[in-house]
Amino acid sequence: MSRPAPVPSTGLIGSLSPGHRERLLALAHEVDHPASTRLFEEGGRADRFWIVRTGTVALDIHLPGRGPAVVETIGTGGLVGWSWLCPPHEWHLGAETRSRVEAWQFDAAEVRAVCAAHPEFGLPLVTLVAETIGRRLRATRTRLLDLYGPQPGAPSP
């Protein structure tokens, strides 16, 4: 029997206060997926989310005629899915495990209900999800700059 994965000290779980972490984890279901498991599909109902304990999940977008194109990967401690938080609660991307993935899975409606009933827990959690969204937005903008490619106007020694 394999040892359970440790609680990540970084990411959303690591950033929550011990009390809030305990409250959130009380809502979690431990899941263990083999590689190449589809977690959700673009356009599907965003009724769950995950926090990765070990392994990597790839987010992808379907390109007609080409299949899924991976746009980002999420590793240990990372939040998989935020569409569950905002209406219309539909996935914007697809997700697939790249390796064996151990994760905490959460029921979105249940977490939203607890957040609404206990704002002292809900606000920090939603703030951390917003931070995650902000970090990914900044990363996406940085990648739009194509920093590692040729830079027009830069000195070319």
Partner: protein, 268 residues
């Protein structure tokens, strides 16, 4: 250090990527002084011009290894040189990485694109003396899988933590996708006892340094290798000025607490 280019012979070359070549230079008569990791040489492609290039590996007998990406006339000229060709070399120049200050610390080596080249001799030095340091983390970002440097060596840098991520996956890539800072979540380090060495495009270095400081690393322990238009390499011409610094002489390695206020000034 010499101000006159000393002739070297290009003894071997290896194409790393479509536009990047690693070559080894051997002194024809009397080598240059020892290069420390992070220092650079001025490489003279005869008849074309001279550019600064970091050493990416050194040996005790004066041989130097450089990785050059063809982006302009001189770098293209160097990349096109065949084995046996002559290259003029001046150096060593610059201050290099302050590895001595990192003894006993967890190390974060964060590279973007060609920025891995000046970090490779630092990784070599750490691997040669592993007991002197804490956990080594090597985080590498590249544009595509085809743009990765030193592919044969990457597996040896995975312990205790090493990872590669690309902006644009292609060709059956099964590794990580995204910015290099995303890998920091998985790196193994105690912020209060860690030192970071960062080299890559300036935007990437700023983002990495900010992220590390947010995670508790003191700004003075985040070392960046900066680049400006280095010409003379001796602090005389002023082309590489960054505020009060002449990067050819006072850099290229600058701690983030010193660099941070300068990097956000548009005129610099």
């Amino acid at each position: 250090m010499t101000l006159v280019p000393l002739p070297h012979r290009l003894t071997s070359r290896h194409r790393e990527t479509a536009d990047t070549v690693t070559f080894e230079l051997e002194p024809l008569s009397g080598g240059l002084g020892p290069f420390a990791p992070g220092q650079y040489a001025m490489l003279y492609a005869f008849g074309i011009g001279e550019i600064p290039v970091s050493v990416c590996r050194t040996s005790g007998d004066g041989r130097l290894t450089h990785t050059v990406r063809a982006v302009g006339a001189v770098s293209r000229g160097l990349c096109d040189l065949p084995a046996g060709a002559s290259v003029g070399v001046r150096g060593p120049f610059g201050n290099g990485w302050n590895l001595r200050a990192a003894r006993g610390h967890d190390l974060l080596v964060v590279a973007g694109g060609i920025g891995l080249a000046p970090l490779r001799p630092l990784i070599d030095a750490v691997l040669a003396e592993p007991a002197a340091y804490g956990r080594l983390n090597v985080l590498v970002g590249a544009r595509t899988p085809g743009d990765l440097l030193y592919r044969a060596e990457l597996p040896a840098w995975r312990r205790p933590f090493g990872a590669v991520t690309v902006d644009r996956p292609a060709g059956g890539w099964t590794g990580r996708v995204g910015v290099v800072t995303a890998l920091l979540d998985e790196a193994l380090f105690a912020p209060e006892n860690a030192t970071a060495f960062v080299c890559g495009p300036e935007v990437m270095m700023r983002a990495t340094a900010r992220e590390l400081v947010d995670r508790g690393l003191p700004a003075g322990r985040v070392q960046l290798s900066l680049e400006r238009n280095m010409r003379c390499a001796t602090g005389h011409c002023g082309h590489c000025q960054l505020g009060p610094l002449l990067l050819c002489r006072d850099g290229p390695v600058v701690p983030y607490d010193q660099a941070e206020p300068l990097l956000t000034v548009r005129e610099l």
